[in-house]
Subunit: 228 residues, 2 copies
DNA sequence: ATTCCTTTGTAACATAATGATTAAAGGACT
DNA sequence: AGTCCTTTAATCATTATGTTACAAAGGAAT
């Protein structure tokens, strides 16, 4: 359910603009790849399969328009939305950027806010059709309500801290199944795990405390499992 | 529901096209308002609250796309359907007009028949499908009246400022459900979000102040939720 | 059973993340 | 000009999260 960071490919020949955009997107939680011209962009696009491409129109070697055209022809990359950076907004219409297959454009100078919201808007539309996961797990005397972000245990309603909640909720998503600490880290903490796996133990401890040592069981040498 | 003549706002920088469309729509029984560019369009839209907007894509000052985007951001105008006029039909798909929030498009040259039937179709659809969004949320000692734009709390009637009202009202539309700040921004601020997410916190604070810290609860690390 | 070794539980602490709150700037509208 | 709304930024308090060290428990081999 938790997928990796969304990848963005940023293409611009001006080093400082590249850095600027890279930085602000990275801070927002994107995995940012870069290229300095159209040719590199195509190469990168094929390799990293970004969710979205942000590309300057004017570049040496191969300009953005031409690169976009080529990207829209390759089966592996034709579906990737492309946002153009242009000097002036009117320019874009004249430039026939849409003819080249671009999905949107942003006028320079690029304002972070605008860039981010535009990128997010496009990604949002793309992901709109993803199946939502079940929002409620229901056991004998324990309900886990992902929508309200609370668990109801033994009549009372508990507000677990996020990590504890996510951990419990993850284990409960496959009752009985044992998960190794690595699996847990990957699923609850996410792709870039920079946490010692014993951290899990501590969280488990806290959850057990709140749920009277029920529900989460240790399988020594293997991991943890949920059982009601 | 809609009383009086249905109002249409037509936006085009070319005077003769404007006149043409105005004439044929007026003959058909619409109250026609006009604007010559995106900026005027927004101004007019806010003032006359048309049932539908027909807008050229390419215009000086502010193009149709940008205008559409902005219209879809404003709470007063976001619900108004927008039809684009484009030079060629294929252009539209590429144009990402839908990204900007457009509801339909018509290829130029505009033929009266097509225009009329398209307009009528959209109006029909609206009237039929418009989510009968409850105009009133009613809780124990809190009523939210979207029609009058007021809340009644504890006997008294409060006039919350727009953003506070929209925020409260949005959270209350799904009581219990936790919304992340991003979700809130998307729904309350609109497609093109240009504010820092901490802005929400401040509005929440103000609402809480007025409602004695009831109703809006924080789920740390996740977001906010409404509960009565 | 005893010992040794590995794995897990627990508590205490340090640090990071997050939200509350306030003040103030800038805009829109009177 | 003045008011009110919206937004930002800065500070502060609180809680969440992660790490470590040591205790306890479990298992395997003798």
């Amino acid at each position: 359910m938790i997928k990796g960071l969304p990848k963005v490919l940023v293409v611009d020949d001006e080093q400082d603009i590249l850095e600027l955009i890279r930085h602000s997107l990275a801070k927002e939680g994107f995995e940012v790849h870069i290229a300095a011209n159209g040719a590199q962009a195509i190469e990168q696009a094929k390799k990293v399969k970004p969710e979205i491409i942000i590309m300057d129109v004017m570049m040496p070697v191969m300009d953005g328009m031409e690169a976009c055209r080529q990207l829209k022809e390759l089966p592996e990359t034709k579906h990737i939305p492309v946002i153009f950076l242009t000097a002036r907004s009117e320019e874009f219409a004249e430039l026939a950027g849409f003819e080249a297959g671009a999905d949107d454009y942003i006028a320079k100078p690029v304002r972070n806010r605008v860039l981010l919201s535009r990128v997010k808007a496009i990604l949002r539309r793309r992901n709109a059709l993803v199946t939502p996961e079940p929002e409620k797990y229901d056991f004998d005397n324990l309900k886990i309500d992902r929508e309200r972000f609370v668990v109801e245990y033994d009549g009372r309603t508990l507000q677990l801290p996020r990590k504890e909640f996510e951990l419990l909720s993850f284990l409960a998503s496959r009752p009985g199944r044992v998960f190794s600490r690595d699996e847990i880290l990957e699923n609850v903490w996410g792709n870039e795990v920079l946490v010692v796996d014993r951290t899990i133990d501590v969280h488990v401890r806290k959850i057990r405390e709140k749920l009277d040592d029920k529900f989460i069981y240790t399988v020594k040498g293997v991991g943890y499992k949920f059982e009601s």
